[in-house]
Symmetry: C2
Subunit: 307 residues, 2 copies
């Protein structure tokens, strides 16, 4: 691959040609090779090495959550276009015959489905907040969790760094505002150190989330002005518009208030999270170091495959 070409199509074709990703017929939905998976596993081990001493509590959630959690989170206000809900057929044999008839005629048979109670997880930490709230008062030293989840965002694209289904590894801190901001600063530093170990060029900047509609512009301005969210950006499919591969988020007491996550004195906790876009980081590595992992720079191989 020409080291100067950074466009999305070239990278995606290169990944298909090298058998690193596999087409599915839908943009943003791909199979991953064993090597791609190994790179992700090794990156996760590196992150664990960096953050392991913090002794986070590991919880794992499936790639979808209660629809009610989506509704309460406020996500449908800000990013309605990205959310997904699971719909299923709930009819009888006659309805089933109609469904198959529509399918046979190439018509829209999904009208025979209804919404289930299940919604796709938009970010790894969303199912955590109600889970923490159910466990009762938060101790004064706060809490720290470690999560990995598939996330869904409906934004079909030929940019391989914009998948519809991708994995996020997250650390989530629950505590006082000061504890969260310390945590955010710590991981901003650690994130840049990790990028440096992997010889990936990066910048850290305030985030520009795609809030929906005109009202969304105000929310985006507010997010930037308050500097609540930072992203670690790496050129993957564009130099001018580098890809957010990590994010460092301070939610103030938004989730604490929404879910009733409280200290023993009844005051709402603040929360924050650091997220690693696992597919994006693997893509950045393949983009900068080439399709053959055995030919990656010695320093990078050592960071990923060394002890």
């Amino acid at each position: 691959m020409d080291a100067k070409v950074f466009d999305a199509k070239t990278l995606l074709d290169n990944l298909f040609d090298n058998g690193i990703l596999f087409e599915s017929g839908v943009d943003g939905l791909y199979g991953r090779s064993g090597v791609f998976e190994e790179v992700i596993e090794r990156f996760e081990k590196l992150v664990l090495k960096v953050g392991g001493a913090d002794k986070a509590t590991r919880i794992h959630f499936p790639p979808a959550m209660a629809r009610q959690t989506l509704e309460m989170s406020g996500y449908m206000k800000s990013f309605p276009q990205l959310a997904g809900c699971v719909h299923s057929f709930m009819g009888d044999e006659r309805d089933h015959a109609e469904l198959l008839g529509l399918m046979a005629k190439g018509e829209d048979w999904t009208v025979k489905q209804q919404a289930t109670e299940v919604a796709m997880t938009p970010a790894a930490c969303y199912p955590l907040y109600p889970t923490v709230a159910r466990q009762g008062p938060v101790p004064a030293e706060g809490l720290l969790f470690e999560l990995v989840s598939y996330c869904f965002r409906h934004e079909p694209s030929k940019d391989p760094a914009r998948m519809q289904l991708f994995r996020q590894r997250e650390y989530v801190r629950v505590g006082t505002g000061e504890q969260i901001q310390d945590f955010q600063r710590l991981w901003k530093d650690r994130g840049q150190a990790i990028a440096e170990m992997l010889e990936l060029p990066c910048d850290v900047d305030v985030a520009n989330d795609p809030f929906f509609g005109r009202g969304g512009k105000m929310m985006a301005n507010n997010q930037r002005d308050q500097a609540l969210k930072f992203e670690l950006l790496i050129p993957v499919t564009s130099v001018e518009k580098p890809t957010a591969c990590m994010s460092f988020n301070y939610h103030q007491d938004h989730f604490g208030q929404t879910w009733g996550i409280r200290f023993a004195d009844g005051s709402a906790c603040h929360t924050g999270c650091v997220g690693f876009g696992l597919e994006r980081i693997a893509l950045a590595l393949f983009r900068h170091h080439g399709p053959d992992v055995s030919a990656w720079p010695a320093k990078v191989r050592d960071a990923l495959w060394g002890d």
Copy 2:
């Protein structure tokens, strides 16, 4: 937990009380503790130890696939009630205001969503068949793949062994009928040996899949008569109705014909797969050996945590 009590509710409450599973508000949708995840990881390593010498090609698919793959697979004929499709909001700002209005009134806002091109994966091997077909003719010795995927089935239940989202590890064999039947026999033996190493009581029997409707009864009879699918059953929430924790499937040339998976001479390949229900196996282990993994029998600990 009383060793004689095998009902679903007792087991689920026990898992919640011990912090092994976490409630989400929706039946069949749970968070998993770090220990639960470790048991699954260790079990997967054991399976890799048993099957590793076969040198399967590893491919990983996200938990959803192209809706067209679901449509072509025939799944909507047999199990329409279990399938799920992802629906998203695709409207403008006015539609968005209406959506938020419905949500605020507690009415069904999901009517503002439309079907995307994305469908939940019903079994780990479904996205593999079109992927194999795209790769051209199958060599005479056939192919062998290794997969792990989240799968979705819409069957809300208080039986923890019947989750809506769960993981399957699969080996998939593509080749001649004889190659597939050899593979099926091999894994039936290996599966029983694995259950024995884990001190889990088991039986292998022909499968009883929940085909939909009256027409489905015929398909179920046909499946039994032809002995195409076997299950390894372990008592988890019932002694009378033990849970299928592994399955050994011979699809004849169904997927070969459907997707055009062919040998160089143009004849359709046969396919078969062995599937491990990872959550079910973890549940069986917790059910039979108790909530504290450090107190599990020495032989079981050695099989999972030994070298």
